[in-house]
Symmetry: C2
Subunit: 451 residues, 2 copies
Amino acid sequence: MSQKIFLRDDEIPRQWYNLQADMPTPLRSPLGRDGKPIGPEDLASVFPMNLIEQEISTERWIDIPEEVLDAYSLWRPSPLYRATEFERALGCPVKIYYKNEGVSPAGSHKPNTAVAQAYYNKAFGIKRLTTETGAGQWGCALAMACARFGLECKVFMVRISFEQKPFRRLMMGVWGGNCVPSPSQETQAGRNVLARAPDTPGSLGIAISEAIEQAIEDPNTRYALGSVLNHVMLHQTVIGLEARKQMERVNAYPDIIIGCAGGGSNFAGLAFPFVLDKIHGKEIDFIPAEPKACPTLTRAPFAYDHGDEAGMTPLMPMHSLGHKFIPAPIHAGGLRYHGMAPLVSRLAMDGLLRPQSYHQRECYEAGILWARTEGFIPAPETSHAIAAVVAEARKAKEEGKEKTILFNWSGHGLLDLIGYDRFMRGELQDVELSEEELRDCVRCMDSHPRP
Amino acid sequence: MSQKIFLRDDEIPRQWYNLQADMPTPLRSPLGRDGKPIGPEDLASVFPMNLIEQEISTERWIDIPEEVLDAYSLWRPSPLYRATEFERALGCPVKIYYKNEGVSPAGSHKPNTAVAQAYYNKAFGIKRLTTETGAGQWGCALAMACARFGLECKVFMVRISFEQKPFRRLMMGVWGGNCVPSPSQETQAGRNVLARAPDTPGSLGIAISEAIEQAIEDPNTRYALGSVLNHVMLHQTVIGLEARKQMERVNAYPDIIIGCAGGGSNFAGLAFPFVLDKIHGKEIDFIPAEPKACPTLTRAPFAYDHGDEAGMTPLMPMHSLGHKFIPAPIHAGGLRYHGMAPLVSRLAMDGLLRPQSYHQRECYEAGILWARTEGFIPAPETSHAIAAVVAEARKAKEEGKEKTILFNWSGHGLLDLIGYDRFMRGELQDVELSEEELRDCVRCMDSHPRP
């Protein structure tokens, strides 16, 4: 039996789906420093206006530009597989389908929005993009996209990941990107952190501050974010739109939809095109899977918070561990973000999602079982989704129910082998945020307005 | 314009093409130590009999077992692309098509034969496979295939590559394979080399000796080779068979077919299904691309030689730099083999191929241009094919001719980033075998019979 469900090239979606058209509870506006809702112009020094328009659009369908479709065609439509070997190893009454986003040149789902953002910036006349990156998946994707569209690319990489994952920065270099560890001496935000905490492992929040600072300083430079924002979620919906068609082709429909969740974009990309079905009464269990070391959806309050450490971004209504949060140095660098996409946070508040958290070691265990049965080696982030699949499969067995699971295999782990090695040597620890740590880290939001 | 040319799942070839049915000059038999042709039984302690039968078969079409097709379906059919962005960067009158074999779980074409060999060994009742690996592409492919079919896997990795490419051995570990540097203390062949040359960088020839020695010692163990042999070429023909269909779909036919050539398997896999057309009068320029540091087809004699350093294999009729040859430590570890597949060697002797050699730095330069235009980062081996594409494109421009080039993009370079980094830092040297070195290294074949 063949396990791969292809789409033809001409079946690639030609429009993104914008969940903002269908939100049960519409998003509240971001707030400025004065506590008042901000307008498009307030973001103009950070993002190009064509992307700001997408950020606030409530149009249901947004055309994908031809130039972006051309770039997508390098790896899209991505294959959907039935994981028959993994199913057999689990021995549970589940059918498991996965969408393989690891086939992109950067090895993850991130290029879906990277090429779109590079295209829109180029079209707006921008010459250079700055960004942050955790594990490096996003930095690689943006460097690749900038090479394709002829833009310069500067990446601030969370220091602990810069050290743990030296190869992703070399990848960025092959594509012509310039990657430095964050906090750096290149920005005021970086220097401030280094002055008070010279040994900090860094955080996505700090790296974002540095990237925004450099964008604001130069009129030819803008900032690109790899997750969290509405337009990023929008670009990622190509994943779920394709998956719907592929599932239909084999007459399957998911009972459970799973994605790992750091800032929320790969989860959203798969889940959003199915959300409307749930709103209309279909029973679907949406599970964003996150690390117990960074339990944003499972334990953090829904609040107004900054997206970055220095407080340069507007206040966004989202689940947040506080913008000063420094997560433990787990290997799933892409899941170590203090906040969560406002759209995903809002769905969770409305009871449409069932977030779950996992320890890093059970994720590696699931990832190794995956590699040995299905072949492809998952990224540690993706292994969080696989851990959720394992947990749900076992639950189905206990309850004696048959389930169809669809999950987003968000990226491969070929640049994350040090983590696998450390796990197999028994060197990894499980880290869980204590109640006291949680109280401490959310305190920085005390002065913010309540959403 | 879309650049990817898919095949549907049901268009994956169900038979391999065996060029032995159509060779203009049939292969001579391998010879034993006594100088006499060997029979199937002489190989029975090294390979399972079902693969030995394939090795000597002259049937034109050989069915691909269902279990192998199932495994293939994880990444096959592989996409064929038109490299429009790279074409634009070159500005030459060429259409460039490439077959992307980097989409497999191990990241190269090697799994095409790895899953087949693991399947046939499993079917024959074997419990454990031993092998050699250069850059690690083959070791990874076999470890992945063994995990899938429930076999143990032991890999002897050329020491210089073991050190240059630490991550491919970690990959093998994720799949449950056991990888050690070669020469090792685990075998007599390894100990002999270490005694006389403790600082040797190793060679594929030495690693093969070690792997064969361990296979012969245990009746439940056999040896698997990632290139050179007829059955390996056979398994790789799925590449060219798919490519033919994909080229037909866009009404294209190649004037030039290019593949890098170490032992010959990725070149053969793409080229063999087109060879009959050339025999029947079609003008096709077949270019195996090899390193100037290891110029097997371009400068070495056609001779009877061993496949391994210790002389444990039969004598095979092939182009060879001599089984004692220790190549310079260039980064394209997969192209550092002293010999060449007998089938490829024979075609070259019959004037059907036009082998070319390239320096490592021009290959990296071509590889970086590729990554920045087409997105995917090529392995250093694959970059040799890209360097050949660049050379042929420029030649077409000089001659004012329009050409269609098809080449095998044999694998990605995500585990080879150290080499890219060293190239970009200006640390790499070009190495060319001198006439004197060539005379020295082929001397070890003086006592062998002439083919």
